[in-house]
């Protein structure tokens, strides 16, 4: 059985245990290192005699390399080598690929794609030489640069049931609108970086990755070596958001050069390269059709999206993922169409699918509520289905209604003006908006080793990464809770590929999956301890280093230990993954101010209420939600990849022109967790939390803009240029 999760674990073990650390808002155990700059990120390992490599990007958009003029560059000071090996990557790997992505850098698939690596003694020498490297190309123009007007193919199997068109024609209230969202960048603060060092045929790579179990295979396959000869160290990752799910160009380039030079090589992407060559979230065009009867019950639901990617990439932004289960509407058509274009690879960017799908669905729902003159919260609650429309799958735990109610109450939603342009403060129109949140939930195969040492202290080990998500904190809390040890007697080691394979950080599944593996390892240790105490495992009580059971006097747990007990816990998705529709839910409420003259929109406050199953650490879970909401603000108001449609190159390839929100963009924020346990989701009753905070947030903001000033934009981000075009006369009283 190997840990397959087939039946919901109804024991709620973590509510029976005694230590009392689970869920508590504990500080991150690695916090003292991070605030002192002593957490070591990929580029920061001090390897003796390390050479510096810089990638060279293609100056054409598509075609092939015909010549690389190495000689001039090789004579520049400090230059050690110019590499354009077959193994080097043309494209970054998609999440969970576990195999080499497109290689062979003689071919150019998109603008600025790496075609060579220049290595020198120093970073400055390598950078100058990389700029100086002359390359000849043969240019082609087979692939269009813009998705506009291009042929498309299905990006996924369409979901159709009933008769959408006929039902729309009969409905009392209908909305048929088309929205657009632009491309987004992950823009993690730490640029992708690798240090490669060979010892014979064994490679050690210090890198910045989210999912080591897959990354090892991607590295090995790309380099043509056995996976057992590849070791990745990634204990601290400066943000990922999807961009570090798969390996990227720096890793293979560093490994190729290090093997050739017989010395360590470090390759760090420039910030511009991170934008240009890693992953973009596809732009989308989305048509939403909503048809409701007189009572506001959805009978018709259409959500069709058009997205893009490079030729031969399988990823298509799963825009309608949450639409499938969120609301009623038996007559439906949900589809994603994919155009093949010449722009950097499209892939996972935080909450692929829902991040852009939910904000549009929720904006359209607001339009329907306005059309019907019904409270937007009521409209949503009226459309919470009993089973998944179309296929009758039952829901696992679902706290949508509770989140809507608790969020509305905390926010003061009842004070919202029913109509736009009702509240003006000086130059600013003030308005409120809301949206539901939803994100699919899943677990992935995961392993972790837990060791209870002879002195009772606990060691948790996995190749699970912590990309800021709080893995170090929560995995320690689960083990401490299960094994009855104070948190400071618990140590967590992560991000080393030689440790048991965790689920990795992606799809919000790291905590529930690897957390469950830790839980199960602890259960195995508890079974040993129970055997020694002569009680049933589920009757075993552990707290602060004491062990006891009904009728058995407390004794020091160390009395039961004659050495270390090390157990590996495993979990794999099983029947519970399909028996129920699993998701996390929530609600957003925002108040905005829109400048009546300039169209600038500023948030005044934001509340999110979320049901994420068991909260494993209230502090880090809250932080995840806050982070998602900040992304929602960026998506609503400022973030947009600007591609030049003449050649596909990214014009705003840096942090000055791609506008991630800054401190001043962020209003006071409130996060509410709705009490929930979801035994279908995982044996620890936890679900994911890393992405839910975005999923719908931008919709709440667009709805608030409408409520403030009556401007209903259908194009994200809602920058001043778009808002002001629709604004009423600022002087009108």
């Amino acid at each position: 059985m190997f840990g397959t999760y087939d039946r919901p674990d109804q024991r709620n073990m973590l509510d029976q245990t005694r230590q009392g650390v689970i869920g508590k808002p504990l500080d991150r155990p690695e916090g003292h290192l991070k605030v002192a700059g002593q957490a070591t990120y990929a580029a920061e390992y001090q390897r003796p005699n390390c050479a510096e490599g810089v990638l060279v990007g293609a100056t054409i958009s598509q075609g092939r390399v015909t010549a690389i003029h190495r000689d001039k560059v090789m004579s520049m000071p400090g230059v050690l080598g110019v590499y354009a090996a077959d193994a080097m990557l043309r494209r970054a790997a998609q999440g969970m690929a576990a195999e080499a992505p497109k290689q062979d850098v003689q071919i150019v698939d998109f603008p600025m794609q790496p075609v060579a690596l220049v290595v020198a003694e120093t970073f400055e020498q390598a950078t100058a030489a990389a700029k100086a490297l002359q390359i000849d190309y043969e240019e082609t123009s087979d692939v269009p640069f813009s998705p506009k007007g291009q042929e498309t193919e299905p990006g996924s199997e369409p979901i159709e049931s009933g008769d959408l068109e006929a039902t729309m024609a009969q409905m009392a209230h209908t909305i048929d609108v088309t929205y657009t969202t632009p491309g987004h960048a992950s823009a993690a603060m730490e640029p992708h970086a690798s240090i490669a060092e060979w010892d014979g045929d064994k490679l050690t790579l210090w890198g910045s990755f989210q999912m080591l179990r897959y990354n090892v295979k991607e590295l090995a396959d790309s380099l043509g070596v056995a996976s057992r000869n590849v070791k990745i160290m990634s204990p601290y990752v400066g943000g990922g958001f999807g961009s570090k799910l798969g390996i990227s160009h720096d890793a293979i380039a560093a490994a190729v050069a290090a093997r050739d030079l017989g010395r360590p090589v470090r390759v760090v992407l420039t910030r511009q390269q991170v934008f240009e060559i890693i992953m973009r979230r596809s732009e989308t065009e989305q048509r939403v059709r909503l048809g409701a009867d007189e009572k506001g019950r959805l009978q018709a639901l259409g959500h069709e999206a058009w997205v893009s990617n490079l030729p031969e990439e399988s990823f298509a932004e799963p825009v309608v993922q949450a639409t499938q289960f969120l609301y009623a509407g038996e007559n439906r058509r949900l589809a994603v169409e994919l155009a093949r274009i010449c722009r950097v690879t499209a892939g996972s960017v935080r909450a692929p699918g829902e991040a852009v799908g939910m904000q549009v669905l929720e904006a359209a729902m607001d339009e329907l509520a306005c059309e019907m003159q019904i409270d937007p919260v009521k409209l949503r609650k009226r459309n919470i289905p009993s089973t998944v429309p179309g296929d009758d799958t039952p829901y696992a735990s679902r706290k949508l209604a509770e989140a809507l109610d608790e969020g509305a109450k905390a926010f003061g939603w009842d004070k919202r003006a029913k109509k736009p342009c009702q509240r003006r403060e000086g130059e600013w129109w003030i308005g409120m908006g809301m949206a539901s949140a939803a994100r699919v939930n899943m677990i992935m195969p995961a392993q972790a080793r837990v060791t209870m040492r002879a002195d009772g202290s606990v060691l948790v080990q996995s190749d699970q990464t912590d990309i800021g998500t709080g893995s170090y904190a929560i995995l320690g809390q689960i083990a401490a809770e299960m094994l009855g040890q104070p948190i400071d007697r618990t140590t967590v080691e992560l991000g080393d590929s030689s440790l048991p394979s965790g689920a990795g950080s992606g799809g919000s599944f790291g905590a529930a999956s690897t957390g469950s593996a830790v839980f199960r390892a602890c259960e195995a240790i508890r079974a040993v301890l129970a055997g020694r105490l002569k009680c049933r495992p589920d009757d075993l009580q552990l707290q602060d280093g004491k062990a006891w059971a009904e009728g058995i006097e407390p004794r020091d747990v160390t009395d039961l230990l004659d050495g270390d007990i090390a157990k590996i816990g495993r979990i794999k998705p099983g029947k519970t993954s399909n028996s129920h529709q699993q998701a996390t839910y929530g609600a957003f409420f925002v108040e905005v101010a829109v400048n009546a003259f300039t169209g600038e929109t500023r948030l005044r406050r934001m509340t999110g209420a979320f049901g994420i199953g068991r909260v494993l650490n209230e502090k880090t879970a809250r932080s995840q939600c806050l982070g998602g909401m900040v992304w929602g603000i960026g998506s609503a108001l400022t973030e947009e990849l600007a591609f030049d449609e003449r050649d596909g190159h990214l014009v705003n390839h840096d942090l000055a022109e791609y506008h991630v929100p800054v401190h001043r963009d962020i209003p006071p924020m409130e996060v509410i967790f709705v009490e929930e346990r979801d035994p279908v989701a995982s044996p620890i009753q936890a679900k994911g939390v890393g992405e839910l905070g975005i999923c719908g947030a931008a919709g709440a903001i667009s709805n608030a803009i409408y409520n403030a000033c009556g401007v209903r934009l259908r194009s994200f981000p809602m920058t001043p240029d778009k808002v002001l075009a629709e604004l009423p006369d600022p002087f009108a009283k």
Partner: protein, 320 residues
């Protein structure tokens, strides 16, 4: 970055007449050198030549070229008598950048045009004669006033917009003598030589900026931008407005990020003078400002934005 020789100037005479590229705060120059948009053979560090004081000059004030943006914005005299300058500086960049950026350097700040900053693209400013990729490209931040077929870039800064409104002077030391140029005349339009952004001649060094005697009135710097902070302007308005018995007695106005230079149009000031402020008057002012405005697609919105922002500033200043 291309290799260069580095030397330090000991005093102003070291710097005047030097063929080397002068570096002070370096916040813009090093940014562009890393991109190899700027590739000087030699850098002369002028941080140790003085010019870092703010001193009275007549009824006005002289701000040394090497006074940092932070020091200028925090200076008690500037805040009291020329608050517009302080406000404009504080609307720009970040505290970290303002701690490095200098008064002289900021006047010489180069454009943020994405094609200028990208060596792969044709750009008449970076490489005369290659063309202008911004026209027909992504030009949301580009100019609508005073453009040419050769270039539609903007001067992106904030400080100089306030200086233009205040009618400050740039003091320039040359090989033989010194001269002063009004800030309003310091930057030039692109014409057919957009590589020239100002009137500095080779070897000349900005030694400071002189602020004229304080002007009475409300001083407003209004910057419209995508983010609430730390973003370049979509446009900005610098205004000094004095009211007298319900009428506009005096107006000084300049506009940022609409052109290759801080935009100043004396006709607008004349138009406003003596008038009772009304939305209709503000519209007339905008008509003058935008008489020859031309959008290039993505930046078309700057035309209504400029109209509305000017109205907002005049309304605030006059209490309409």
């Amino acid at each position: 970055m291309k290799a260069f020789d580095y030397a330090r100037a000991a005093d102003l005479p070291d710097a005047v007449g030097s063929d080397a590229k002068l570096i002070a705060g370096g916040t813009n120059l090093l940014d562009l050198m890393k991109l190899e948009v700027e590739t000087p053979d030699a850098l002369l560090d002028i941080n140790r030549i003085g010019l870092d004081l703010i001193e009275p000059e007549g009824d006005g004030l002289r701000v040394g070229a090497l006074v940092t943006n932070s020091d200028c914005a925090a200076d008690a005299r500037v805040r009291k008598d020329w608050p517009l300058l302080s406000k404009a500086i504080l609307a720009g960049a970040s505290p970290q950048l303002r701690n490095k950026a200098t008064t002289g350097g900021n006047l010489c700040q180069r454009t943020r045009c994405g094609y200028f900053m990208d060596n792969q693209s044709p750009c008449n400013k970076r490489e005369p004669g290659t063309g202008c990729a911004a026209q027909g490209g992504f030009n949301r931040i580009h100019a609508i006033l005073g453009t040419s077929d050769a270039c539609i870039a903007t001067y992106p800064g904030d400080m100089a917009v306030a200086l233009s409104a205040l009618d400050a002077q740039v003091v320039i030391a040359g090989r033989s003598d010194s001269r002063t140029v009004r800030v309003r005349d310091f930057h030039v339009l692109p014409g057919d030589a957009p590589q020239h952004e100002n009137v500095l001649q080779p070897g000349e060094v900005i030694t400071g900026v002189t602020l004229p005697a304080p002007v009475e009135g409300v001083q407003i710097y209004r910057k419209v931008r995508d983010r609430a902070s730390y973003a370049f302007a979509l446009m900005s308005v610098a205004a000094v407005i004095r009211m007298d018995q319900g009428r506009i007695a005096h107006a000084q106005l300049a506009f940022g990020s609409l052109a290759h230079k801080p935009w100043h149009d004396p006709r607008i000031e004349e138009l406003l003078k003596g008038e009772t402020p009304t939305p209709a008057l503000f519209d007339k002012a905008a008509d003058l400002l935008l008489e020859d405005a031309k959008g290039y697609g993505a930046n078309d919105f700057k035309i209504p934005l400029a109209r509305r922002t000017l109205a907002a500033v005049l309304a605030e200043a006059t209490g309409v």
